[in-house]
Amino acid sequence: MIQTMGLTKEFNGFRAVDNLNLRVERGDIYGFLGPNGAGKSTTIMMLLGLIPPTSGKIYLLGEELNPRNVAIKRKIGVVSENQYFYKEMTAQEYLAFFGELYQVPNVEKRIDNLLEAVGLKNDRNKKVGAYSKGMQQKLAFARALLHDPELLILDEPVANLDPTSIKQIRDLIEEENRLGRTIFVSSHLLSEVERLCKKVAIINRGRLLAEDTMENIKRRLTDTVVLEIEVDRDITGLEQEFESLPFVKHALLQGHHLEVELKTDRDYRIELSRFLYEKGFLVLSMKTKEMSLEEAFITITQQNVSLLTRGEENHEKA
C-alpha cells in the first residue's frame, strides 16, 4: 500500500530523512513513531507529494508517486496535525465543498453519516471558526473519510481531543480498518498507537530504527523475563533465598506480591512454581510482565538502538 525505497530529504545540507525504507501492507494499521524532529512530518509531506524527496522512491497503492497524479490522491484521506479550515463556512458547507472537489456520489447522505459518526450532527450549521479544537479535529476526520479513501494518513489524529472524543475517533479508526481501509498513523500518544496498531516503525534523526509488529519489537528489546506472582500469604524476607536460585537474576518481594526477573535461556516457570510450593506458598496468579510500547520507544530512541536485522540494515545502506 505504501512503500518507500531509500527515501531521503535534505534541507540546506541537513538530512531530515535518511534513506528510509517503509512497507505498509494493505489492511494494516501502521504506527509511525519518533521523537520531535525525527523526520515524521517531513516523511508524511513527501508521501503526500507536497515536498519532493532529495532522492529515493515512493510507491502508493502500487504506483510510483507523482504529485500530478490526482487519481492516486483521490484514494487517500488525510488528517494533519494542525487543522486548517475555511472558517467562514459551516461544517455542512465545508464538507459539501470537498464532496464536490472529490466528486463524491450521493454526497448529502455521506455527509449525514459522517457527521453522525464523529458526533457533529447537531453542530453542522455552525461556522467552523466557532468550533473548538476537538470539534475541528473531528471535522477533519469527516473530511478525510468523505471520499471513501483506500488509505488514511493520520498525523496526530487525537492530539486535541478529550478522552470521550479519543475513544470515539479510536472506534472510528478501528471500524474503518475493519471495512478494509489501510491506516497510517503518526502519533506521540504511544498508548493510543499501542491500542490501535498492528505494526509500527520507529524513526530517530531521520533514520529507521525499527519496523515490525509490536510484539516482535518488545521481544527483541527484552533480554530478561519478569514474572509477576501473587501468593496466598506474606512472602517478605525471602529475597536472599530467591536470589540464590540459579535462574533468578533479581527478586522483589512485597506482601503477597513478587516480581521475579528470570534468565531467558529457557522457561523457568515450573521450577519457580515448585520452589514456591516447597516453601509452602500457594500460587494464586502468575503472569509475564510485558514491556510497554512507551518503554520500548524510549529504549530505542534514547539509545538509538537499531532493531533492523543485518539484511534490513544492508538494504537501508544500499
Binding site: L48, G49, L50, I76, F85, L101, R143, H147
Partner: protein, 272 residues
C-alpha cells in the same frame, strides 16, 4: 472532466467568498465616487466657460475608475495564494485532487470574472451618468470598457505571480508595493533625465539616462499598468490595428504570467 470540475468548484467558492465581502463593493464605490467628483468639476467648468470641446468627455473618469478597480484587483490577486498558504488551507486542498495548475487557473478566472463584473457595473454607472448629463456614451467608451477586460487580465496575472512567490499576506503586499514603487521610481527618474538637455549632462549622467531608458522600456513590457495606459491610448487614437495588437499583447502577457505563477507555485510549495 475531473480537472475542470475541480477548477469550477474552486472558482465557485472563491468567487462567492469575494462577492460577499465588503472590499469589492468598497473599491467600486470608491472608483465611482472619484469619477463623480471629476465629472462634477468637469461639468462645473463647462457651465462657467459655457463651452465643451472633447471627443471623449467620459474617458478620463473611466480611466480613473479602471485604475482604482485595477489597484483593488492587483491587491486581491497578490494575496490570494499567500493567504491560503498562510492559513494552511492550500495544504489541505493539495491533499486531494487540486494541482498548482488547477488552483492557479481557478484564481485567475475568479479575479478576471470579478473584474468583468466590475466593468459591467462601470458600464451601467457611465450609462446613467451619460443619460443624466448628456455626455455621450460613445463607441470609444464601449471600446475602452472592452479593452478593460484585457487590461484587468494583465493586472490579475501579475498579482498572482507576486502571490505565488510569497508565503504570507504581509510579504505579498510589501513585495507588490516595492515592485510597483520601483516601476514608478524608474519612470520618474527617466522622465526627469529626459527633461534635461543632452548638452548639459555629464558623460556619466548620459550613460545613466541611456541605462534608465533601457530599464524603462523593459518595464513597459512587465508592468501591467503600462498596458493599461497604452491600451486606453489606442482607444483614444481610434486605431483598430493598435487596439487589436494591444489586446493580443495583453493575452500573451497574461498567459506568460499565469504559467510563470504555476511554475513558481510548484517550486515554492504549499507551506508559508
Amino acid at each position: 472532466m475531473g480537472r475542470s470540475r475541480v477548477l469550477r468548484t474552486l472558482f465557485k467558492r472563491d468567487f462567492l467568498y469575494t462577492l460577499y465581502s465588503f472590499g469589492y463593493y468598497g473599491a467600486l464605490f470608491a472608483s465611482f465616487l472619484v469619477s463623480s467628483f471629476i465629472l462634477k468639476n468637469f461639468l462645473d467648468a463647462t457651465r462657467e466657460e459655457d463651452i465643451l470641446v472633447s471627443a471623449f468627455p467620459l474617458n478620463y473618469p473611466l480611466y480613473l475608475t479602471l485604475i482604482i478597480i485595477s489597484l483593488y484587483l492587483v491587491i486581491v490577486s497578490a494575496i490570494s495564494i499567500s493567504r491560503e498558504r498562510e492559513q494552511g488551507t492550500l495544504e489541505v486542498l493539495f491533499y486531494g485532487p487540486v494541482t498548482s495548475s488547477s488552483f492557479l487557473w481557478s484564481k485567475y478566472l475568479k479575479d478576471l470574472s470579478l473584474g468583468i463584473l466590475a466593468l459591467g457595473f462601470t458600464a451601467l454607472y457611465f450609462y446613467i451618468v451619460s443619460a443624466l448629463t448628456n455626455l455621450g456614451f460613445t463607441g470609444g467608451l464601449v471600446r475602452a470598457l472592452i479593452m478593460g477586460v484585457f487590461l484587468i487580465s494583465c493586472v490579475v496575472s501579475f498579482g498572482l505571480f507576486i502571490s505565488s512567490l510569497t508565503g504570507r499576506i504581509r510579504n505579498s503586499i510589501i513585495t507588490l508595493i516595492a515592485v510597483l514603487g520601483a516601476f514608478l521610481a524608474i519612470q520618474f527618474v527617466y522622465n526627469m533625465l529626459l527633461g534635461i538637455e543632452k548638452e548639459s549632462l555629464s558623460p556619466s549622467m548620459l550613460y545613466l539616462r541611456q541605462a534608465t531608458a533601457y530599464v524603462f522600456h523593459a518595464i513597459n513590457w512587465v508592468s501591467p499598468f503600462a498596458y493599461l495606459s497604452r491600451g486606453l491610448d489606442s482607444v483614444v487614437l481610434e486605431n483598430w490595428t493598435l487596439y487589436l495588437t494591444h489586446a493580443l499583447y495583453c493575452v500573451i502577457y497574461s498567459l506568460v504570467f499565469v504559467f510563470l505563477s504555476i511554475y513558481a507555485m510548484g517550486k515554492k510549495g504549499v507551506k508559508a
